[in-house]
């Protein structure tokens, strides 16, 4: 191969790994296996409804399939996927498409591992949990996003910053503000009762 041919090959075949359809489908299969649980939790944290969360996970991977040509350009698949899922969940919530969430609070409690559930039951009841989540929904959008994403063990602060397109320090301050405001609201509600 001459130097010109080599250069031309460099220009036109920048993603040789993703050239065949089989490769793309293998990558998407691997993404589903690795990230579907994380995406489900992210979607669930917004919609609080199991069926809605599953729909959003499916929709997220359909978007990946649609934009499969961009797969080679993605630096951090987790950040990219969570961002898609988050936006889809917000869109659904905004359009008021979400099903009632109250039924699923009990569902969620059932799905938690029993030991974990017992420990949390000692701190918070199902009704109190619903109350805290309702207060979280009253937080400003940016603070709410940072707080909910920070609850995911799978996501680091740097990744949350990537998802929110901001800096890590900004994320830390948003989480701090969210928790402070939430604590104030909880105390106010507690004193009113």
């Amino acid at each position: 191969m001459s130097s010109f041919e080599a250069q031309a090959a460099g220009w036109f075949y920048t993603q040789p790994v993703l050239k065949s359809r089989e490769d793309v489908s293998e990558i998407i299969t691997a993404l589903v296996a690795e990230y579907s649980t994380t995406l489900y939790r992210v979607a669930y944290s917004v919609t609080r409804n199991s069926a809605e969360a599953e729909d959003i996970v499916q929709e997220t991977f359909l978007r990946v399939l649609k934009h499969q040509n961009k797969l080679g350009e993605i630096r951090d698949a987790r950040v990219w996927l969570v961002r898609i899922a988050w936006n889809l969940a917000l869109d659904r919530k905004r359009r008021g498409k979400t099903r009632p969430e109250t039924e699923d609070i009990a569902d969620l409690v059932r799905t938690l591992p029993s030991a974990e559930r017992r420990a949390d039951d000692e701190v918070i009841s199902t009704q109190e949990q619903a109350r805290v989540l309702a207060l979280i929904d009253n937080l400003p959008v940016k603070e709410r996003q940072a707080l909910l994403l920070s609850a995911m063990d799978e996501l680091s602060t740097a990744e949350i910053a990537g998802i929110c397109s901001t800096t890590e320090s900004s994320i830390r301050s948003r989480i701090f503000r969210a928790r402070r405001d939430l604590a104030v609201m909880l105390e106010k509600q507690g004193s009113n009762r």
Binding site: S25, I28, T29, V32, A33, S36, T37, Y40, R41, Y44, S45, R48, S50, A53, E54, V57, Q58, F61, L62, L65, N69, L108, V109, T111, L112, P113, E116, D120, E122, V123, I124, E128, Q129, V132, L133, I136, L147, L148, S150, A151, M152, D153, R179, L182, A183, L186, E187, G190
Partner: protein, 154 residues
């Protein structure tokens, strides 16, 4: 445990922990994979391949479209300049496609005879007689100035 129940921070942590540890349905992955396979097959059958081809070659198509637009602009401007070409009697522009250099313009070797009852190009008179070009005024080389049909007023 009463301490924890009354502690807002602990309540927030517990609520978030519950939310973040939601367990997806056991066959979620299989369902997602099945839907992806179905969509993928659907794309293949409903002109997906054609769309993929056009999308994959988008740089080439974009370049070709840009080239075509440039060509049309050049052709359009050349045609426009043909329509608006200055036709001085003593200057012969080369006949062709309109593209040429300045040196290709030929000046007539001899003065051109002016047709009868025609006004010389270099002598203009306004109706009220305020602005006139004198016959002694400097004129470009090669431009013929025939006798004026009307006598020049001082």
């Amino acid at each position: 445990m009463t301490f924890y129940r009354n502690n807002p921070d602990e309540q927030i942590n517990a609520a978030l922990r519950r939310l973040a540890s939601a367990v997806p349905p056991p066959d979620l992955e299989q369902r997602v994979q099945a839907r992806l396979r179905y969509k993928s097959a659907e794309r293949k059958t409903s002109g997906g391949k054609l769309m993929d081809f056009f999308f994959g070659q988008r740089i080439i198509f974009a370049s070709a479209a840009a080239g075509l637009v440039c060509f049309m602009i050049v052709v359009g401007s050349v045609q426009h300049s043909h329509q608006r070409a200055f036709s001085a009697p003593a200057i012969h522009l080369p006949s062709g496609n309109g593209l040429g250099t300045a040196s290709s313009t030929h000046i007539a070797p001899a003065p051109i005879a002016v047709p009868e009852h025609s006004r010389p190009r270099s002598e203009h008179k306004v109706e009220d007689g305020r602005a006139t070009v004198s016959r002694d005024a400097h004129k470009p080389k090669g431009v013929a100035v025939p006798e004026s049909t009307a006598p020049e007023k001082p």
